[in-house]
């Protein structure tokens, strides 16, 4: 299993744990007195789960298991993969911080955190498709 896949899958497992912890906290009764900013994190929970866990796990497994391009360049330009990993996680973490901040302080500069988070995650998806597209092919037969 290549190093990039190991990073994707380990990060995905961490996001799954964090997403489920957040779901647990969001499900606590009001009497517990959960901080207000946590109560604003329902969309964050969905994205931790679907981007951090599901999509990141898929990225890692595709990078590992899809047919290689050639013996010389089995998985394409690995730098694209690392850039994708960094952008996806930076974008998602910015969202985790920016979403409650923006909800609590609307019409302030915090809104730009969400715009940057959106751009980083979008770039990550584009880079991943550029990296994986040539590997959607028949089995490599050594040509």
């Amino acid at each position: 299993m290549p190093a990039l896949t190991r990073w994707f899958i380990k990060a995905a497992l961490l996001y799954l744990a964090v997403a489920l912890l957040l779901a647990l906290v969001l499900a606590l009764p009001d009497a517990v007195g959960t901080p207000f900013f946590i109560r604003l994190m329902n969309p964050t929970y969905f994205h931790l789960f679907l981007v951090g866990w599901v999509t990141q796990m898929i990225f890692g497994v595709i990078y590992w298991l899809f047919p290689i391009i050639s013996r010389a360049r089995p998985r394409g330009d690995e730098r694209l993969g690392w850039a994708c990993f960094v952008l996806l996680n930076a974008g998602l973490l910015l969202r985790v911080a920016g979403e409650p901040l923006t909800s609590m302080h609307p019409n302030t500069g915090f809104g730009w955190i969400l715009a940057i988070a959106a751009l980083l995650q979008w770039l990550a998806a584009v880079l991943f498709v550029i990296l994986a597209w040539p590997r959607v092919k028949e089995k490599y037969r050594g040509e």
């Binding site: 999509t55 898929i58 923006t102 969400l114 998806a125 994986a132 959607v136 089995k139």
Partner: protein, 137 residues
Amino acid sequence: MPRLSRWMIRTAFVYLILGFTVGALLLTHKGLNLHPALWGWLPTHIELLLMGWIVQLTMGVAFWILPRYWAKPRRPKEGYARIAFALLNLGIWCVIAGTTFRAGAGVVTVGRGLELAAVLFFAGHNWRRIVSREGRG
């Protein structure tokens, strides 16, 4: 990787980009108030990524990787899987038309029906490929 898997997986990649594009606009709007009409694209964002990306990618990989028969055709009833591919994508666009583009609740119902039919056709293709090494189902 067979041709149908290549089609399904590449289509899933296209939906990934489309879904992330809509999602990026929605998230930016949340921070910077771009245009209130953007919230109408939330169902499209969800549909593109759940059905277009995750479900379709899963189907493409399953068609490729589930056990094949020793004798030809090695992936029997392949036509069922092709029909599933067509129905799923038709269903996705019906749901998008019915929600974001307000083509009517009936269109959403038709879309969901097409997606259900796609899954049934796909299961019809794959059911007998879900076996142990000894061929036990």
